[in-house]
Symmetry: C2
Subunit: 348 residues, 2 copies
Amino acid sequence: MTTNPKNISLPPKSSRERARGLVLELQEEICNGLEALDGEGRFKEESWERPEGGGGKSRVMQEGQIFEQAGVNFSEVHGKELPPSIINQRPEAKGHAWFATGTSMVLHPLNPYHPTVHLNYRYFEAGPVWWFGGGADLTPYYPYLEDARHFHQVHKQACDAISPQLHKVFKPWCDEYFFLKHRQETRGIGGIFYDYQDGSGSLYKGQNPDSNAAAISEKLGPQPQTWEQLFALAKSCGQAFLPAYSPIIEKRRNHKFGERERNFQLYRRGRYVEFNLVWDRGTIFGLQTNGRTESILMSLPPLARWEYGYAAEPNSREALLTELFTKPQDWLTDKSLEGECLPFKAID
Amino acid sequence: MTTNPKNISLPPKSSRERARGLVLELQEEICNGLEALDGEGRFKEESWERPEGGGGKSRVMQEGQIFEQAGVNFSEVHGKELPPSIINQRPEAKGHAWFATGTSMVLHPLNPYHPTVHLNYRYFEAGPVWWFGGGADLTPYYPYLEDARHFHQVHKQACDAISPQLHKVFKPWCDEYFFLKHRQETRGIGGIFYDYQDGSGSLYKGQNPDSNAAAISEKLGPQPQTWEQLFALAKSCGQAFLPAYSPIIEKRRNHKFGERERNFQLYRRGRYVEFNLVWDRGTIFGLQTNGRTESILMSLPPLARWEYGYAAEPNSREALLTELFTKPQDWLTDKSLEGECLPFKAID
């Protein structure tokens, strides 16, 4: 699944500055949008430096009106050699100094009717190779079909603006990446995910050649992209975040919740912790390579619980989540989902 | 650090039955002791089978008087080939069917003055090789020097009953194993830890040749043990658990706590989650190889929290934990610890 560097176009001269500028702008834009959405909470910023090179700015909102905790990171780091986990995927980077910049975000709302959400857009350069990666995925607790469709629809449009083929691969890739193998569950209802996008060859450059995303990508054949197109993709998807997420918050703003809903949310947040600490390559990579722990673990929820042998009550709204909304679904096209959501008033 | 199987003695004919009997007995004895200690809570047992071979019995107490959650597992599993992570350590096991039996336990008390504790004793056979592993370690929140000393003293005696050299290696090995690299902290005040004990060569058979435990072991030279001695060691240490832990619970039973102590406990429990999901080889091995998820994750606390940028108030009792009690210490011999604990009334 690796590509020949000969097929990779040269990045523009100002590639690093432009990529840094883009992710900084996204961080700024999104934080402003989230403060407006929350109405009360404010982000506090901390700048930090990485001893091995580079640094970042971490912004955190705690105990807002909507957001129990919201973290939006920016970082720009560089080093002498990428770790083996990345070199395995990009052997051409071996022996070369590298540069990476990106923004990442996780929001943990207080109200269980408000979904947790994650976003990350990043850019790498190492010797002869460069690539973009990123995506956004939604993790509802008390789910609504309309919300899932809306989130996917907005991200599909953002991808389609660059090329109508992208979403076909990035949507299933997201389902496959954010998957808890030990629970046989997706983390949430997905969204989009892509990595190692260098404009060459097929779109799928993940680690599972037997996956659904790989098969779709194979069928589509080569999908050449320029650096400019992939830059535009990150911008388009990054800017899609607020329109994809804010309406869901607004719509569910007045949903009352009690102990039952809170308990379920905290239980499901445990799954978020499990995914991030056991399976998320970015988190594990960061922790094992001397990243800034507090910034990396900003993704963890402010409160979470575990309960041995928990099972949702049959036919409950909680069971709807664990049976329907934590399995990969064709949210935008599968009409049968409506029938399944109707009894739980989980459509609109 | 691997050993020549030629140096490994043959196990007795009934080795598997005896090892299974021992860990089952430990599970029974400890559960009975914990029910008596709790006074109200009762263990519920679930039996399970492993599709690939074997099974187990998981016992859980929830919402007891003392224990917010207590889990004590027994398992006896077998398979065709051990996973690469173990084969790397025991190449002689390659290509051979394997057998493993063990008991593991994590207790999460409600009162922050009561420490969390973990225990595990296990036995493996695979072709020409067999080995014992295990240990117990204590994780206090509001710590007491006397409690740390007591826990270590009892485990030292249990090791010394077999050989006076064992504790010299198993104590630092524990500090090194239960270490959160990304936090630069020990999980708690340690105890004992040992693995791959097959009676041959030196005592240390861990993965870090530069460690303190390795250096001490090297200095001690070969420490041959028989199967019977290592069996007796597991029994001695396993039976030491209740006398090591129960007096601490009794002594701190009437300590009142409020929101501040509970918040600190929940925050520190987050570290327990981080260790178990990021660093604990047993947990990761179980989750990645189709173990019984609910039994493996019984070790996670019923409630935990994370807080970006938390720092204990200077000179507080919380700071005593993070500055003194999450660093490796010579609890039994270092007299200077008393002076450091005195201002916090954390001696007795």
